[in-house]
């Protein structure tokens, strides 16, 4: 049975529809990513899950309990990390941890053991007495995560925990999330970074308050309709123009080279002659896997 069940959630702010009939389920011991750009509705949804906002319509249940009516019972199971840093800047790392641990009823030896365990993977021990305001961005994220985990929650909800963080630190963060999954925790993460989807169990695309697609990472990208090739050559305006001139083929500049797009079911072989006639070098054209971004864009344009 799903640990987190979101049922037809809708929310509007005046004229703006932030969420439209959104449904989603997260299983126990599953890492689920909510992927979408700014303004897509990620934060709105997460706030509704944590009862920081009330939806216009729809229901949310966690561990079988209704968030709207039984949230006090859900609180001990829930670990939340908001998008902006929400701990106390004038309190030290240790003081922030002790405070939240106390609110969740964790004190004494049990607290110290849990704290030390969190210190090992966060590397915050040397900074225990430092004021939170004096921590670097990456350390703040780790502290926020530690406070969300101090009480051994069964579900962790993270709102863009890795925004602005470099790829290596992001990787490390995700490794922590995978460890949690191994311990049976459900994790719901929102992110604008497509490349993070690769590491989760399932993901969905959210855009304009709607769910565009959902599934395992590989299958999501594979749902791309058509095929993409990379042409490793100087992307001059002339070549791009010539390529676009070939019917059923579209080309655009990409980095130091070009992307060629073919329709579903089409094969590159059909174009060998046409390509040769404009002077394209077939040997420098190789197929590439469509990226999640490619698929996202395709879905967005379809809406």
């Amino acid at each position: 049975m799903a640990f987190l069940k979101i049922d037809s959630l809708s929310k509007s702010y005046g004229e703006t529809r932030a969420l439209v009939d959104f449904s989603l389920e997260v299983e126990p011991a599953e890492v689920y990513a909510l992927v979408g750009p700014d303004g897509a509705g990620k934060t709105t949804m997460i706030r509704i899950l944590c009862r920081l906002l009330d939806p216009d319509e729809g229901k949310v249940t966690i561990d079988g309990r209704d968030v709207d009516s039984a949230f006090e019972k859900i609180k001990p199971l829930l670990g939340y990390m908001p998008q902006q840093f929400s701990l106390y800047p004038d309190l030290s790392v240790e003081e922030n941890l002790t405070f939240y641990a106390g609110l969740y009823g964790l004190t004494g030896q049990a607290y110290r053991e849990k704290r030390d365990y969190l210190y090992t993977f966060s590397n915050l021990a040397p900074f225990a007495k430092r004021r939170a305001a004096a921590l670097s961005g990456g350390m703040k994220q780790k502290l926020a995560l530690s406070c969300a985990l101090i009480h051994d929650p069964k579900i962790l909800i993270l709102d863009e925990p890795t925004t602005g963080v470099d790829p290596l630190s992001r990787r490390q963060f995700w490794e922590i999330l995978l460890q949690l999954k191994a311990q049976g925790v459900s994790v719901l993460v929102s992110t604008p970074y497509m490349d993070e989807v690769a590491r989760c169990d399932r993901a969905c695309f959210i855009f304009d308050g709607h769910k565009l697609s959902e599934g395992e990472p590989d299958s999501l990208a594979a749902q791309f309709e058509g095929s993409i090739y990379y042409y490793d050559t100087q992307p001059t305006a002339k070549i791009i123009g010539d390529l676009n001139g070939i019917p059923d083929l579209s080309a655009s500049r990409f980095g130091a080279g070009m992307h060629l797009y073919l329709k579903p079911g089409d094969k590159l072989d059909r174009y060998l002659e046409a390509l040769g006639s404009i002077g394209a070098d077939i040997d420098r054209i190789s197929p590439i896997k469509p990226s999640l971004e490619d698929r996202f864009i395709q879905l967005m344009e379809a809406r």
């Binding site: 920081l52 609180k75 929400s86 003081e95 609110l103 406070c147």
Partner: protein, 368 residues
């Protein structure tokens, strides 16, 4: 409830670590007492008058002397212009002109009636009545001193005994009231920003998902401030006593106990404001306006409540200073006992409970 303890401890950290604010919080009430204590001095002294002595005798000179030897009058720097004596009053160089015409000394010796002339600037009514009262008193004393020894003028006299403030020093009246008002304002200010700040900085978002209830947050935040505000109160009282010589007739313990209750009530006003409002700036403004003005105007600080229209009298009942004014004036000036003071004290407790209940009701557990 140990969760309240955690909230209170955290709040204490916030208070102690904001050193500059803490300094202001402790120094400000003392400074205000100082400033307002000296500024609000209702005793009228050193009224500027000009005495025009046309008699120029020993007697007239003695009368003139008496006017200026007292603290009540001081001499104008200019003499009035004979063509336009009122110019002196119009130009605010004197409040009154006393004219002693020739023949004063002779009339005195012969026991005849004589009229002195006094022109008074009536634009400040209380000043003018003070001039009249003081000059009558000086004249009467002058005459009495010339009477034969043993002579008693016939008529009624009133044997007056002014208790509690025999010199009618206004500071005894005002300073305790000032203490009450300053404490109210500072306390409300202190707590008004605490919840609003968590909303503004975003820390509330995290707190709301933790298993802690609104009443626990409110009480936890209230506790540390009670001690700070209490220290403020003690400082202000000591200051008032030493600088303004306000006597202390009653029990220190009683004042401390009831002062505690008063301060807690005042802090609860701030807590309520903080629950309702989203930004710290607005919270501070509301705290200032809702405590300073009503307490100065409606608590009995200057204006007697019984003289007010009914509606305002009703409003004065929800101003905590109204009750504490009775308590502090009672204890300091009249040595009033518990039996009388228990009534206003109970009203304060009732007010505090209502304020905290309202604060709990209006505490939002949602963002936005």
């Amino acid at each position: 409830m140990h969760k309240i303890r955690y909230i209170a401890l955290k709040e204490l950290f916030h208070i102690l670590r904001d050193f500059r604010s803490l300094l202001i919080v402790l120094a400000m009430p003392v400074m205000m007492t100082f400033l307002y204590g000296y500024a609000i001095n209702m005793d009228i002294e050193n009224i500027v008058i000009s005495v025009v002595d046309l008699d120029k005798t020993a007697a007239s000179r003695e009368l003139t002397d008496r006017f200026f030897k007292s603290n009540y009058f001081s001499m104008a720097e200019e003499a009035p212009d004979f063509d336009d004596p009122e110019q002196l009053l119009r130009s605010d160089n004197a409040t009154a002109i006393l004219l002693i015409r020739p023949g004063f000394s002779e009339a005195l010796q012969r026991g005849e009636k004589f009229q002195l002339g006094m022109t008074v600037d009536g634009s400040d009514a209380s000043l003018a009545s003070a001039v009249q009262a003081y000059s009558d008193a000086i004249l009467l004393q002058f005459l009495m001193d010339r009477l034969p020894v043993g002579f008693e003028p016939p008529g009624l006299t009133v044997s007056r005994q002014v208790l509690y403030n025999p010199d009618l020093q206004s500071s005894h009246f005002f300073v305790p009231g000032l203490v009450a008002i300053i404490l109210l304002m500072v306390s409300a200010l202190l707590t008004s920003i605490t919840i609003a700040r968590e909303k503004e900085t975003g820390t509330m978002e995290q707190l709301l998902t933790a298993p802690v209830k609104p009443y626990q947050i409110l009480l936890g935040k209230l506790l540390p401030y009670i001690f700070i505000a209490f220290i403020d109160g003690v400082l202000v009282l000591i200051f008032a006593q030493t600088v303004f010589d306000v006597p202390f007739q009653g029990s220190y313990l009683l004042l401390l106990l009831f002062g505690f209750i008063y301060v807690a009530t005042a802090l609860s006003i701030g807590i309520l404001i903080s629950s309702l409002v989203r930004t710290q700036q607005v919270a501070m403004m509301i705290a200032l306006v809702s405590t300073l003005l009503p307490s100065v105007m409606l608590s009995g600080f200057i204006f007697a409540i019984k003289n007010m229209p009914f509606l305002l009298q009703a409003v004065s009942r929800i101003v905590p200073a109204t009750y504490f004014l009775k308590i502090i004036r009672g204890v300091m000036l009249k040595a009033t006992g518990v039996e009388t003071l228990i009534v206003p004290a109970a009203s304060l407790v009732g007010l505090m409970v209502i304020l905290l209940l309202l604060a709990t009701r209006s505490f939002k557990t949602r963002i936005g």
